[in-house]
């Protein structure tokens, strides 16, 4: 495949992620921060997000599995996850966390468990889509092309 075709695929895929609400403007900000002194900034930051999230999701499962659920603890984990998803522009994960926090306040275990499932699902989707995006990016770089920067 020619570089121009790869670039077009990348742009179209990235555009779909924004259109479908998986990513928001914060992700664009991260892309704009990447340069020669921080060439892998976006991948680096998103990888930190993956690590953080996986740990938080495990902690959440454990916390909600207790006999007496510590809702303060649950809320604290969700707060962290909301913060990091917001930092990288993972909009749907962030929104799922916002809903989750409301149920923490109500101390509703069943609703929280259901929210956790939602968050896990959104995280899984976000992860898979970002990994695809990075793969498309890598293809372009390997072929000697440069990554198109998108501005709306």
């Amino acid at each position: 495949m020619e570089v121009v075709q790869m670039q077009r695929r990348f742009v179209e895929y990235a555009a779909s992620l924004f259109r479908e609400g998986f990513l928001d403007g914060q992700f664009t900000q991260l892309q704009q921060l990447q340069d020669e002194s921080n060439p892998d900034f976006v991948v680096e930051v998103v990888s930190l997000f993956f690590e953080d999230s996986e740990k938080l999701l495990n902690d959440l499962s454990r916390a909600l599995d207790q006999q007496n659920v510590d809702f303060k603890r649950v809320d604290s984990h969700v707060h962290q996850l909301k913060g990091s998803s917001s930092s990288i522009g993972a909009q749907r994960v962030k929104n799922a966390c916002i809903a989750f926090r409301n149920y923490c306040e109500e101390q509703n275990t069943d609703a929280c468990l259901s929210c956790l499932q939602q968050v896990k699902q959104e995280y899984s989707l976000a992860k898979s889509k970002l990994e695809t995006l990075f793969r498309l990016e890598q293809q372009i770089l390997t072929a000697g092309g440069s990554i198109p920067i998108m501005m709306e």
Binding site: Q29, L33, F41, E44, V45, H79, G83, I149, M151
Partner: protein
């Protein structure tokens, strides 16, 4: 409507903004900033953001570390203070710093855009408060303000 731009935008103005304007015309030095945040992701993003605008950055993980730095004689032009942190949170650290006579610009950074929360945080002695993560525009505006106040 999507525009395609191959290459990186180059902004010389932002580099110049990061340098302090010294009245007597001698050497200009970089504006120093302290990032106070318990989240490594936020610290990383803010570090790169501030560096890109030409600022010098240092980061600590909670309010107590920030206060200790000042107690040991360090000083910064700008402090980015997170709200929720373990050991010592943003409002407590801000109150302590102001009580110590610290006049640095302290900007609060909150995860939620709640008016009540922001007001409470501002009352502890902040110069301003924003929702995180900060954007390039916000940081540029802060630097312009710092240069004007100098």
């Amino acid at each position: 409507m999507l525009l395609l731009h191959i290459g990186k935008p180059f902004n010389l103005r932002k580099e110049i903004l990061g340098k302090k304007m010294r009245g007597k015309g001698s050497s200009s030095s970089k504006i120093s900033t302290l990032i106070v945040d318990d989240d490594p992701l936020t610290r990383r993003i803010h570090k790169v953001l501030l560096t890109k605008v030409g600022l010098e950055t240092q980061a600590v993980e909670n309010g107590k570390e920030a206060v200790d730095l000042y107690r040991s004689g360090a000083s910064f032009d700008l402090i980015l203070m997170d709200l929720e942190m373990p050991i010592m949170d943003g409002p407590k650290a801000t109150k302590e710093l102001r009580a110590m006579g610290v006049q640095s610009m302290i900007v609060g950074v909150t995860a939620r855009d709640l008016e009540v929360e922001k007001q409470m945080f501002m009352a502890s002695g902040l110069d301003d408060c924003y929702v995180k993560p900060l954007t390039t525009d916000t940081v540029t505006a802060l630097v312009e303000k710092l240069n004007k106040d100098n």
